[in-house]
Amino acid sequence: MTPFENIYRPAIMKIAETRDEAPGVRTLRLEFQDPADLQRFRESYRTGMFGLYGVYGEGESTFCVASPETRNDYVECTFRRSGRVTTALASAEKGDLVTFRGPYGNRFPIEEFHGKNLLFIAGGIALPPTRSVIWSCLDQRDRFGKVTIVYGARTVADLVYKEELEEWGRREDVELVLTVDPGGESPDWKHRVGFVPSVLEEAAPSAGNCVAVLCGPPIMIKFTLASLKKLGFEEENVYTTLENRMKCGIGKCGRCNVGSVYICKEGPVFTAAEVAAMPPGEL
Amino acid sequence: MSEPFEPKIVAFVCTYCTYAGADLAGTSRLKYPSNVRIVRLPCTGRISPMFILKALQKGADGVLVSGCHPGDCHFDHGNYHARRRWTVFNSLLQFAGVPEERVRFSWISAAEGRKFAELISEITEDIRRIGPFEQYHALIAETGSPAPL
């Protein structure tokens, strides 16, 4: 008989680094303990894919791989402490062992972005999936045209990846537009104040030869899509990611589908046109 | 030769009376068996029947729940509420076939170090006599749960 292959078996990961991003939000850098697991990850990981991060005794939780495909010898994830698993992950320390199952799902078609201008839009805790694409593109900067990043959070404290935001802000080949919701600014805040859709409209990036990557809470997505439409973006050129509750991550446990579309297998990356075709009542 | 059976007993006690009673037993150098693991809670009113089920789930052979005498509750009436709950849960456990020796309830005040020591000895002996809670342990084993490292 062939050796038993357990599709539910996770890889054991060591926490190489922890970083507190914002209140309740933390980033972990995880390193594979088994070289075979690392090898598999290197071969299969592409930006946009997700994984199930776990702590034995607590369970597994799904979020995107926040690190880019151009840096594939580790896995980074950023999450908000909210349920049982994220609470356990948040209290884990450097050197602790956790688990990772994946990478699963589809990817951003980055080759199709070659030669185009890129517009990244993210809100709050949804920067991680966008960040994965941003670095994947910045790591091969000369293949792309103009890069614009519009990122907003409720308050200054809620902005994640603060160091990277600074780095992107310093770069000449990136246009960074930061904003916080009205009332969320600190006395020394030098950037914009306002909601992402209106800030985006003010910044008015050209839709010509441009693809947009948009990640955020549903309400932000809804209004930002309207703004993008005003700016002349076609739905086929706007990419986003969807999230749903998952248990298996591989199309078997039966809960993440939106209509007939399984987020875990056919997603999490979709164009706005694909999302528009989904039944709105299930999103 | 197998090891002689040492009962595993979990005691859920309130911090104001029974825990203080246990403390007194200790400082008075009263001898009692070391089979009891004490879990200290603010009041018997906080001791949910879930705790008892959890102890059994983790393989306890016996459980003791103990707090202040009626009228002595630090929070005035937590133990009166607990008493009603115990009445009902005790009856349920017995109806489900959990022998009454396995789950006991008592009032032990901060001054009753001797009562604490004697009760622990008595409960431990009772359980030693009836042996490990094999019926429950069989259910635990059936889940495939691995033994502690």
Binding site: R84 | M50, V88, L93, A96
Partner: protein, 276 residues
């Protein structure tokens, strides 16, 4: 006029006059033996309402559907004595206002259905009192008596066999009008007190927790037992708890809407013979 006709026309009048926004009752089911819950909002649909000795389901739980009573309007509902007691308990537990519940009372006596006079839960206190007196004298059923006669190990084995069949579909919980928690204790996972898996241990834990949470609240309507797809004798556990609470605290759940819940109240002289 049969009771069925009488209540049909009452339902029609109530809806037509706008006195109630909905009638919760029984309609014919898939087979001639079956009855099913039905929700009528139009006077002309009232001819679907059925009332006979097959109408066993306690419908009170449907009143707790999210938002149903939030507009303050009244709903008429077919209820037996157990159902009326359920309304009293739910009102005592602040889950609904009995003023919003217009009762179409009935009682099933063997194969006959009889009217119970009254409109509001408070009108049924005599009938409830009579039930309490009858319950006090009620002897345990055959299986319960057999169980009581067993020793602990035998009882454990009996329940082990019963619970091994449980598939954790939670039909008992969902069918119970008393199980109104937004999030059941087994669905809370911080901490996870009892196992969610459907092995015998997890099933035993679930069933004990369920029985305990219904102690002093269960009206013995039988919804749980009828819903159980694997016929676990859940009523034995519930009856045991009801008997215990009645005997120890003279508490019969659902006497009126001001009755304090048995496990949220106490008397200083409550019995405590088992406490060391």
């Amino acid at each position: 006029m049969s009771l069925q006709e009488h209540y049909r026309s009452q339902a029609r009048e109530l809806l037509a006059a706008g006195a109630v926004k909905m009638v919760v009752g029984y309609a014919e089911g898939t087979t001639p033996e079956r009855r099913r819950p039905v929700f009528i909002t139009e006077p002309e649909e009232c001819s679907r309402l059925v009332l006979d000795a097959r109408c066993r389901t306690n419908l009170a739980g449907y009143l707790l559907r999210e938002g149903l009573l939030s507009d303050g309007r009244e709903i008429a509902v077919y209820l037996s004595t157990e159902g009326v007691r359920t309304i009293n308990i739910l009102a005592a537990e602040s889950q609904l206002s009995s003023a919003q519940v217009r009762i179409l009372g009935f009682e099933i006596d063997r194969d006959e259905v009889k009217a119970m006079e009254g409109k509001r839960a408070a009108d049924f206190s005599e009938a409830i009192l009579a039930h309490k007196e009858r319950r006090k004298k009620q002897a345990p059923d055959e299986l319960a008596a057999k169980l009581e006669a067993m020793n602990a190990a035998e009882r454990f084995t009996f329940w082990q066999g019963e619970f091994s069949r449980c598939i954790k579909c939670y039909a008992c919980r969902q069918a119970c009008p008393m199980c109104w928690c937004r999030r059941c204790v087994v669905d809370n996972n911080q901490p996870q007190w009892v196992n969610t898996s459907s092995h015998t241990l997890g099933n035993l834990e679930w069933n004990l927790v369920r029985a305990f949470h219904l102690a002093g609240r269960c009206v013995e309507c039988g919804n749980c037992g009828r819903a159980c797809p694997v016929d676990i004798p859940l009523h034995l556990l519930n009856r045991k708890m009801t008997g215990e609470v009645l005997e120890a605290f003279d508490h019969y759940p659902g006497m009126d809407e001001h009755q304090e819940p048995a496990l949220a109240s106490f008397r200083k002289d409550d019995p405590e013979t088992f406490i060391l």
